[in-house]
Symmetry: C2
Subunit: 335 residues, 2 copies
């Protein structure tokens, strides 16, 4: 089935090796001959066999995007940014989901060993102990770019946003609005981005001489029911917080759900601000103040870095570090 290099060679009365070299854009073949072969191949709708050519040219034409999930609006926008670049370069994007499971991440990365993909863009699972699979990938010939969720211990290019400053600014906004007891809803203990956001929160708490015990850090998980129970306990307890910072989109909307359920008024009883790229933040009840990450731009920038490495093998990206700032958008939840 399909048109082969052999058939193209026979039809054009040219040696098979010449056709093969022309299709790989070899400098051994003249421009005229290349043009004639490529034109005919296009006309015949020739598709290279990805596996056969992978064995020789070590190119799959795929890049991998490894993510914890796609339900978060940050990641769906970041994929759009990555796809914009990949499409221009004629590459396929393969999306792999880890679902916050390090063993799944390890198994996905293991599959990349044998040339299945030419490069990897990655937002890592929260985990501080097992980084061998990331180190191994970083040491391999496959270029790797972390975006958003980076692994601090693994050497690789990274595209991030200003998480520390954003955490600080979010806290300062609540303090400026009059909040006295602010809770920080964290998500993962071993994730650089939430740790940075939390460090920014802690700095603002210190600078304003607030008492750390009255401004607690609450660790949420991937279990929605557990989080709801935990936030409910927090908001029904003594010394109820009058301000909440959601370190990721999910816990922010969960805080809304609890306030609706136990009839706490936002912002009168509790002001809420969240890290989120949610397009419909303005439609929530009340509209949600967000720290909006430049998701699309981060995806696009990470993909551009990756293609830089794919196109010029000698470039070493490992020390590249690009920071794109987030934007704080005030809405009614912090009035």
């Amino acid at each position: 089935m399909g048109v082969t290099i052999k058939k193209i060679a026979a039809d054009l009365k040219i040696a098979v090796s010449t056709v093969s070299k022309a299709l790989r854009d070899s400098h051994e073949i003249s421009q005229d001959t290349k043009a004639r072969i490529l034109e005919y191949a296009a006309k015949m709708d020739y598709t290279p066999n990805p596996y056969a050519s992978s064995l020789k040219g070590k190119r799959s034409g795929n890049i991998a995007v490894v993510l914890p999930e796609v339900a978060d609006s940050f990641f769906s926008s970041a994929i759009d940014g990555i796809e914009e670049v990949a499409q221009q370069k004629g590459y396929h994007v393969m999306v792999y989901l880890t679902h916050e499971d390090v063993s799944r991440e390890q198994s996905i990365i293991r599959e990349f060993r044998n040339g299945r993909v030419d490069g990897v863009l990655m937002s890592v699972v929260a985990n501080d102990n097992q980084t061998n699979h990331l180190d191994e990938l970083s040491a391999s010939e496959t270029p790797l770019v972390f975006f958003d969720r980076v692994c601090e211990r693994t050497k690789a290019a990274r595209v991030v946003t200003d998480d520390f400053d954003s955490g600080y600014n979010a806290t300062q906004l609540l303090i400026d609005k009059g909040c006295k007891r602010i809770a920080f809803l964290s998500m993962f203990k071993d994730l650089a981005i939430t740790n940075q956001r939390q460090a920014g929160f802690e700095k603002a708490i210190r600078e304003n001489d607030f008492h750390p015990e009255k401004n607690p850090i609450v660790y949420c998980t991937n279990n929605e029911a557990d989080n709801i129970a935990q936030i409910k306990k927090l908001l029904k307890g003594k010394n109820r917080p009058d301000g909440i910072i959601g370190s990721v989109e999910k816990v922010t909307t969960q805080a809304y759900t609890v306030c609706h359920a136990i009839k706490l008024a936002i912002p009168d009883d509790v002001r809420i601000i969240g890290f989120s790229h949610l397009q419909i933040a303005a439609l929530l009840n009340p509209s949600l103040t967000t720290i909006t990450q430049p998701a699309f731009e981060m995806g696009k920038t990470a993909a551009k870095l990756l293609f830089k490495a794919l196109e010029k093998k000698k470039i070493d990206l490992k020390n590249e570090r690009i920071v794109i700032p987030s934007v704080l958008v005030e809405r009614n939840s912090t009035l």
Copy 2:
């Protein structure tokens, strides 16, 4: 680099061909020998070369999910359902996005010709003229299952929800609540699911002796600004609708945006119901009445069908048609 079949054979003092057959689960090899080889391969962290084995066994270990986008909550949940099944089967899921562009869909499908994936799950781009690429895929040896957005003209297994009934029920709910002029926000002229939903709407309009001209169908596009302008014109015009049905999530939230902007009260001025899988529908202002599609179940069911075909080559799925009903959840937007 890495452990090869040769090394395993040498270490275990078994013929290379025996190891190779055992790893492909050949019936020629005894259970005991297989177990011994698999155990040792696992211990040595053996990874098969996907390209080499693809050339022989014609198995890539990948299934493709081809979707218009991941920003819609339906698709992100459907992916979760697909992943649950694929993971159990030891397969990798590769997500490809078409962004509603039929030429992109064609180029993606073309890449599947040469064994890059073992099977395809697909929600198609809206398009009624160009179906050759789908027909060709359906005629190939690669099993194909449509889910949600099916191509009516192409023979393939399909997993859908009850779009006609849901469109009818949504309209009847608005009529029961007292609406007299209902607008149906459609999305694509050439898409089976929105056409079905619209046909259900038209049936309810007819049965209640409503005048079709006062109950218009408005065609939205993928351009958000255009849709907002169109919906604004609709809601500022004479004979303003007092009920709106959003045929997809995006146009439903756009109708909310317009009502907020021009200060129309939902549900007092306009009642709104939308096809959506949005988890935070209850947090919108006001909470949104939805027809919630069984996204996770649909993804899971489609993947199960695909693996049925992958595991028993002789099964012909082309006439399989599974319908999983949607659920209407009443909230404040239709009070």
